[in-house]
Each structure stands twice: as structure tokens, then as C-alpha cells.
Symmetry: C2
Subunit: 233 residues, 2 copies
DNA sequence: GTAGAACTATGTTCTAAAACACAAATATAA
DNA sequence: TTATATTTGTGTTTTAGAACATAGTTCTAC
């Protein structure tokens, strides 16, 4: 009983965007169909070619959405932070997933059946527009990303990724350390380069006093320089 | 009077997807707000940084959506064929255009104010879902494109573009000539390579008897080979 | 029809980044 | 703990593709 009440409280506060657009009846339906699932670090959330069934909302943790390309080389397509929605695109396109998702770190995810969401938004213009807006923003980002990843050089791409990570996950209390610890390989897959190049370019940035590194902790020293490198490519 | 009737007929047959989802009242509103505009070959339809105002529907012709990237190097993001909708993403994202659009050849475009479309879809679940589905499909394509353009080699990228053009615009009566005549530069911008490389690789394909070229006419001789080259990158 | 511009073609040079090779350091498990 | 695997770091080699140079060709406009 207490557990259920807690869950209800969780949903209303954790799904702010969607919750506030729903009627009482819809909220009740959502309450009865939403599931909360925990994922361990590096655990798979969904796989390429699977059938999409649920809208996912990341309550806690960090998630990567990625694709395996030519020769199994993996490319991180986007990263998710709390509270963001993911996993719905393929369902709306009536396709299997063309990407996979896995947990960068321990995660709490809320799953809501897509059938329910579709039913809601058919009668709820605000909710429909919410999804239209999310998709439109993501499509704009993807278009920009095509150009950045293909035209910028290694330094520009890595600089861009570092800034992107900072803006996505923020900084620690020291106001400089990026609040996510990625393997060099993930950093490479995010920036479309080999692991060696990510390591080497990171070292160069350290020598140029743009960042400092301590294992996987990356501290941004000169954000202005970093932004400039990202800008000029 | 006759002109108006013609226009009405045009709309109902030319906007099949949207038209059939509207009520009589909505159709009337659409009729009074839609404009038909003609663009000459190479004419600009909209520019980067402009404010999006209209949903555009291509009735006739061929359109490229492109972005200028590092050092003004242009990248074709997607191409539009009749009857497809475009120009709406930025409005929904509440952003200025991040791309530009221009006519590959003489075009007829129907413009419908986005305010009207938004008003329609707030009360029309089918229409909302129609846009959600279009955006979802385009986002999936964009995600795939990031991987293809960054990981495939020049031959694979060009082969992919040729197949893409064939599937988009079809073949001429001979059942082999791709039904669009692009400058080598456009082919390069579509495939993320320099014009020289597009020319060179096209020549190689000719030598390997995969295609033949006659000016801008490209005839596909061995589609299987082309697909294989595209697949393996 | 001619002049100039734009496009196509091909050869050559140069360079960014991948591929490879190997240490060293760190994490994980037995 | 030691052993094993994984990750990080750095130097070297190789290569795909960009950049450059130049010439022939085909549009386009006057």
C-alpha cells in the first residue's frame, strides 16, 4: 500500500512533462501500466532489430544509444540523461529498433507501453505536440551531427564531444570536472574516431593546458579554447 | 471561378495524406490558406536561419535540403520528391531553419501556414500521428546516415547515393537510367566527398562496368554489384 | 556565333587519420 | 595474493582521400 503510494508520487514528480498533460483517468491508466526497471552498469536496455514496445523514461543514471556500423564499429548516436524519454521513435516509425541502448552506469528506467501512449496522444493534442517537438529537436540535432562528424577534424570532433558531455551531464562540485566517466573507447565512439586517436588527442589537449585528466575524470581548464577548437573544426 | 475549382481539385488529389484526415470545415480553411508557388531550377526555397512559417508540400519537381558546414562546404541532408512534405521540422522545434532548400529542377510547391497545421493536429489525432510518423522515419534515416557517411569509404558512399537516387526518383523508360540529372558536385555533396572524388569514383564504376555515364545521365548496369559495394562500405 | 563561365576529367602531391605494434598501468577475478 | 584481462599510452607505418594543378568540354548569355 505504502509502496503503491510511493510509486504514484514517483510518477507524478518523475514524469513531469507527460503527467501534467493527462486527465485523471489517463493518469490512472498510466499508473497501472507503468513499470520501473533497474539496469546495472553496462547492462543492455534494448537491442538492434528488437520490436519496440515501451516508451522509456530515464529516472536515474546515464544511457547511450548506439549503432553498430561497418565491420561492427560502434557509433554512439545520442546519450540520455534524467529525465529524458527514449525508445519511442522506432515504434512510431513502425520499425524494429535500428539502434541499441545500454547503461553507462546503474539506471532506473520507467517503461510505459507504447500502445497506451499512442492511445493518449490521439486524443491529446498537447501530448502529441510534445512528441512532435521532441522528434523535431532530435532530428535537427541529427542533421547537425551529420555535418559535424563528417566535416570536422579529430580535434574539433573531440572538443565538441567534451563540450556536449559537459552540457548534458554537467560538472562536479569543483565546477570543472565533467560529471561522467567514459572509457576512451566510448569517447572515441561518440566522436567518430579510433580509440588511439581519442587517447592521443586527449593527451594533446592536456599538453596544451586545455584540460587535465586523472584516469577517466576530465577537467575542463580552458573552455573558451575548447569551444574555439570545436567551432573551427 | 473555374480556377478556384481547379485549385480545390488540385488540393484534394495532391495532398492525399493530409486531405483525407480533415473535416469539411478544416478542408475549407486549408483551401483558403494554401498557396501554390513555382520555383525555377536552382532557385532557393528557404535559407538557413530564416523563420519557418509554412508546411511545404512538393507537388512537382525535385528539391534538395542541405546544410553548409565547416568552411562553407555544403552537405545534402535529404532530397524531396513529389508528393512529400518538408519545411515543418524547424517550426515544431521552435527554431529557425538549420538547413536550406533549393530546387534541383523547376518545382511546384504548396505552402500551408504552420499555425493552421498546428491548430489542426491539436484536435486531430490521426494528423498528429501522421507527423509523428514522418519525423520518426526521418530521424531513423538520419541516424543511419550518420553511420554510413562516417564509416563507409568513398566507393561505398557513392554506391549508396546512386541506389538512394534510384529508389527516390526511379528510372526512365529504359529501366536503367536514374531519373535525375545531378552535377558531380551535388553527387559529391550528397555522398560527403570532394567533387574530384565523385568524378573519379564514377569513372571507376564505369570501367568496372557497374554503370555507364553520358553527361549527367547515369545508367545502372549491375545493381547487384552496386548494392554489394554499398553494403560492405 | 562567340566569349566567358561553369562543369568534367585526370594526373600528382600531400596529409590526416587509420592500422598496427607494443608497453605500461589498472581493474577484475581466482 | 597472484594471475589474467582490460584499458591506457606512445611510437611507427600505411593509406584513403583531400588538395592542388591543368586541360578539355559543355553550358549560357550576350
Amino acid at each position: 500500500m505504502l509502496g503503491k503510494n510511493k510509486k504514484v508520487a514517483d510518477l507524478s514528480s518523475s514524469l513531469p512533462d507527460i503527467w501534467k498533460m493527462l486527465t485523471d483517468v489517463e493518469r490512472d491508466q498510466l499508473r497501472h501500466n507503468a513499470r520501473i526497471i533497474h539496469f546495472k552498469k553496462n547492462e543492455l536496455i534494448y537491442l538492434e532489430d528488437e520490436t519496440p514496445k515501451d516508451l522509456m523514461c530515464l529516472f536515474k543514471g546515464k544511457v547511450k544509444i548506439y549503432k553498430s556500423g561497418v565491420g561492427g564499429r560502434s557509433q554512439i548516436i545520442r546519450i540520455i540523461r534524467p529525465v529524458q524519454y527514449f525508445g519511442y521513435r522506432a515504434y512510431f516509425a513502425r520499425e524494429p529498433y535500428v539502434t541499441a541502448a545500454s547503461a553507462f552506469e546503474a539506471c532506473t528506467v520507467c517503461l510505459i507501453p507504447m500502445e497506451l501512449i499512442e492511445q493518449f496522444l490521439r486524443n491529446n493534442g498537447d501530448l502529441a505536440l510534445f512528441f512532435i517537438q521532441m522528434l523535431s529537436i532530435d532530428l535537427g540535432i541529427a542533421d547537425q551531427r551529420v555535418v559535424n562528424l563528417t566535416q570536422k577534424h579529430v580535434r574539433g570532433r573531440l572538443a565538441e564531444s567534451l563540450i556536449f558531455l559537459k552540457e548534458s551531464y554537467g560538472l562536479e562540485e569543483d565546477g570543472a570536472t565533467i560529471n561522467i566517466y567514459l572509457a576512451r573507447e566510448d569517447l572515441a565512439n561518440l566522436s567518430n574516431m579510433t580509440t588511439s586517436n581519442a587517447i592521443r588527442t586527449l593527451s594533446n589537449f592536456v599538453n596544451e593546458r586545455i584540460i587535465t585528466i586523472d584516469g577517466r575524470k576530465i577537467k575542463i581548464i580552458d573552455e573558451e579554447r575548447l569551444r574555439k577548437i570545436s567551432r573551427i573544426g
